[in-house]
Symmetry: C2
């Protein structure tokens, strides 16, 4: 399912690029697993895009799982996932990130996890509302889906503590999703499959609106500054990236999430009333699916 989704997503993004295509970097580690990195750099629409799948298995449970589930110590496991990152060139088009993953021990012990979040450099209420409504509607189609809880988890996770701001406008974040009842696996699988199918409808209408907008040096400068914050989150905060860096498996695949370029300026504060300054109110938790995205 993840590999099929990878092919479909890449085909959709390549349609935006015309001639320029993704390069494939398959990898394999005996005794660990294998994966396929598909990456596009310096495109017309996407300055950097990556879609990775991987499948790993092991004869003993990783320490990070055992810490939360001691009864699984020593059990063999298999895990797989897909992750997606888009850094478009146009500063008005948001960066987009998602991953879906499965972790299995045996027929009774398994779970799914997933994340989808969006990071604009310029805030548009319509974009935020559209993105969150697609996620909300996806969740509503599935018994185990819980948009409100998953949105809250996402807001909390994608926060840069040292800046006291979010990396972007959130989305959904869930983990350890399982269902012990009859047909539970099929229901969770359907939820994940539908989530993967929701990624393009959540993002492409926004890209279609923003990618043609004219911009100049000022907007690129601001975009690079915001991408600096993206780097701060991924390298200094993100548990997944930090775990990947510590275990050392396939650094380039892990760091494909970083933006193509980033910039730091000392104590940069956008002038009051500018479009740049107004981003700040997008970087705090807000009920985006409510009418006009306003707080009650």
């Amino acid at each position: 399912m993840f590999c099929d989704a990878q092919d479909r997503l890449v085909a959709a993004f390549e349609a935006y690029e015309g001639a320029r295509g993704f390069q494939a970097a398959p990898w394999q580690r005996p005794g660990l697993g294998s994966g396929r990195v598909l990456v596009l750099e310096d495109g017309e629409v996407f300055e950097r895009a990556g879609v990775n799948t991987s499948r790993v298995s092991g004869s003993t449970m990783p320490a990070s799982v055992v810490a939360k589930a001691p009864h699984l110590e020593g059990a063999p496991f298999t895990a797989g996932g897909i992750s997606l990152i888009l850094h478009p060139r146009n500063p008005y088009a948001p960066s987009f990130h998602a991953n879906f993953r499965f972790f299995g021990v045996d027929a009774d012990t398994w779970w799914f996890g997933g994340v989808c979040d969006m990071s604009p450099s310029y805030g548009f209420e319509d974009d935020a509302a559209h993105f969150h409504r697609v996620l909300r509607d996806w969740c509503a189609r599935h018994r185990a889906g819980d948009y409100e809880a998953w949105k809250q988890a996402c807001d909390a996770y994608f926060t840069i503590p040292h800046r006291q701001e979010m990396r972007g406008i959130g989305g959904i974040f869930f983990d350890h999703l399982t269902d012990p009842e009859d047909g539970g696996f099929e229901r969770c699988l359907a939820l994940a499959a539908d989530g993967l199918d929701s990624l393009l409808p959540a993002y492409l209408p926004i890209l279609d609106r923003r990618a043609p907008m004219p911009y100049g040096e000022r907007e690129r400068h601001w975009q690079e500054t915001r991408r600096g914050r993206y780097v701060e989150f991924n390298l200094a905060v993100d548990r997944g990236t930090r775990f990947g860096l510590e275990t050392g498996a396939n650094i380039e695949a892990i760091l494909v999430s970083l933006p193509p370029r980033a910039r730091w300026s000392f104590d940069l504060r956008p002038g009051p009333g500018t479009a740049e300054a107004s981003l700040a109110r997008f970087l705090q938790p807000r009920p985006w699916t409510h009418p006009a995205g306003h707080d009650a």
Copy 2:
């Protein structure tokens, strides 16, 4: 001493810039301390330069000190330091970093610490040998100075584990330097003062050689890629930066160490035989003060 050094260093760097000057950002936190950030951005010679001093004190010892010296639990302390970062514009001129710090409890319990290291994007044997010889000669002038041990500590510290390469060509790193004998404080103070006086002789001759060299887009691209590694080290590895981000004191002063711009490309490998490829052999520990900097 640190504040005097700050003024002298900034005056020296401003002499390179002509009209453009450093902006001052003093800060004060009641009950914690105060400091002065001096920062220059977008200069002719320095794309980003920062010289910070700070002085903090507290009625109870920080946890990080108590962890290593349990007998100091609950003791009041005072600490001060200076840190310096230079990111020159010319890709052939290396980035330069140093800090000196003092930590005091009472007349018998105090120590100095210090770091000086250099991070070139292009390797020059002459630059590395000059830089390390100035540091070696400074250490040799002081009874407590130990260039070989401090170089080894620096090589180990400025390593990016997930890349298995150093951030640059090392330098010196020492901490908890004290001297319980008569006149010990004065001797350590003299060592630190001489270290501060050695920074300009260690760096400026290299800057003088490299800043006038012609360069183009290719060299800027490579410089930004190397600065990406600098960011990876500072945000994901550096204990000082991570401690600062976690405690949240004056984020902008902490992150002034980051380069002005950075770039990430997927699995970038410079072509064999290029100047970019030859940097790799500079990013491993080497005995730079030996003739021609070659290994035995």
